[in-house]
Symmetry: C2
Subunit: 342 residues, 2 copies
């Protein structure tokens, strides 16, 4: 099985949602590989959404890449969309650059720099509006998969988990996880906001306010409003959303689906955290070791790993009966049409 | 029957969509009554959406009113939402003021002043993005009701219908329809853009470009993409959308639902136009002659008449088995909670 455990769901009207946000945290040098340079991270979520929806980035002239040259995981999400024909919606939870396609706006502001200690001043507004959106969507869909595109998002994820008292180790879109820089940034933010390990365990939205990002507020609010079956599609960033949901005391039918690159990342502790949080976890393997395309093979080296709901997108493809080979070939096709090389 | 003919539909997942737009045309003095002053019309669509979604306007301190004091028809749409619990989504097709609730953004720009002859420069982009949105929504809903909030929208409606060769006479939110001003503005716009009666009958998007508003581009694109059963909820503005759809050659299952205030307005020709265009038309009567509330009774004098999909909202309530009395009482309740008077 290329998705473990095999997803035994049979929804009638599944919906894929991807939450987009920018933060100033992403612009701290060497924090994020989601963009060729720190400044370009502002364009990454918009370009990811455009790529999934239309097959090409519109807001920038080339598709979002890691500095290494590995392509954005939006390629995988696009492949799943083409295979499964599932409806996709994108949420602007706080962007500097809006995607040039239809998307849902919840009037959130981009996140700040967590070193200043007030990363998401409008966390409550974002949460409430997203919950209202969730209540609307619950009437239309019976299985919602929620992914994200938030450069710098693993740093904010780790910060929030610490504030809630979890030793969440996070993954990275760099092959060598810049753990030291992340720790330094988080420690600075915790000091500035007067937060210590676990001190906000009873006030998770305050943890997002101080150290998080707008996606977290939107994702947890959405789950609150949805009340329908939900799959969080992501790695350690979605683990931090799970920790927020748990500490808010929300009882919802939520699982998590990620890639094996995150699930097996020794610098993170994905499996341990999902056990602590008591949620079902799915891990998908696109089998890129067999790919004829160098950019996709780079995923096997630990470049990129996850994002734009790629793990959940593979979960979806598997749930709807597509094989690993069919998925990989579709991803290669998407890659080819993006770069016109093979 | 308070809705004629009785709507014999039994959808499983109906969805109400309201398309919002601003235009410079609305700011021409005495054109629009959708706002206490021409400048305030910029706030009307946002406030309407906020009122339907949350029960109160957020972007302005009081609910949108006509200069006469009659309340926005969003009151009726809110009443239907409360009765039927139907999901509602709002689309920003081109706004100067965004609603402070979740909504769908299709990256449209506000419309210009039609006297300048290029009212919607991005008509094709809006149409295409809206069609893509329609294809997504078609997978989630089996009956979509589409309303609008566009101050000044009857003038742009009349302009587009003339360019397409229809003698569409439009209604007004003023009790005395300012037909002469509308004619003068439209004639100026037609002259400026070199358009004569019927000269754009084969190029309806060009008619919107020259003389229309962003809502028309969004609504017709949405219908194109949806392919599912659709009810256009509105008066003469939605008749102009029907004329665009017809002249584009789109074959879709589209009907129109409005209020009896529009259907019976002698200054307009709603029934004649829907016959010419060959669509089913529904007209609803909230029975406000029996209302204890003066502001609602004013509808009987020809104030307001329609908007924010009010006619379609009543259609929905009737379709789901609610009586005229139940609807009127719910509208009174909404009015009371807005104005805290009775």
């Amino acid at each position: 099985m290329w998705v473990e455990p095999y997803p035994e769901f049979s929804p009638e009207r599944p919906l894929f949602i991807c939450i987009l946000a920018n933060t100033e945290t992403a612009k701290i040098p060497n924090i994020s590989a989601a963009g060729k340079s720190p400044e370009l991270t502002d364009y990454t979520p918009a370009a990811d959404a455009e790529l999934v929806e239309t097959g090409k980035a519109i807001s920038i002239t080339e598709p979002p890449m890691c500095p290494s040259g590995a392509p954005t995981p939006a390629v995988l999400t696009r492949a799943s969309k083409l295979l499964t024909d599932i409806p996709c919606l994108f949420i602007n939870a706080g962007l500097n650059v809006r995607p040039k396609i239809h998307h849902i706006d919840i009037n959130g502001n981009p996140g700040g720099d967590i070193r200043k200690g007030h990363a998401v001043p409008d966390v409550v507004d974002i949460y409430k509006r997203s919950a209202a959106l969730g209540r609307t969507i619950a009437k239309l869909s019976d299985l919602v998969i929620i992914g994200e595109s938030v450069p710098g998002g693993t740093t904010t994820a780790m910060g929030v988990m610490r504030a809630l008292g979890y030793d969440g180790k996070v993954s990275s879109s760099f092959p060598n996880n810049p753990v030291e820089i992340k720790n330094k940034v988080i420690n600075e933010g915790m000091k500035k906001s007067g937060v210590t390990f676990g001190s906000l365990k009873d006030d998770p939205l305050r943890a997002v306010f101080c150290l998080g990002d707008p996606m977290m507020a939107a994702a947890s609010g959405l789950v609150d409003g949805l009340k329908t079956r939900t799959i969080l599609a992501g790695g350690t960033q979605m683990v931090s959303v799970l920790s927020i949901i748990k500490n808010l005391g929300l009882e919802r039918d939520v699982s998590i689906a990620t890639t094996r690159y995150v699930a097996d990342d020794p610098s993170a502790n994905f499996r341990e955290m999902t056990e602590i949080l008591g949620v079902h976890a799915f891990a998908s393997d696109p089998g890129f070791g067999n790919s004829r395309i160098k950019g996709l093979k780079m995923y096997e080296n630990g470049d990129v790993k996850e994002g734009v709901g790629a793990g959940g997108a593979m979960f979806l493809a598997a749930m709807m009966g597509y094989s690993q080979k069919e998925f990989r070939e579709k991803a290669e096709e998407v890659y080819d049409s993006l770069f016109s090389i093979s």
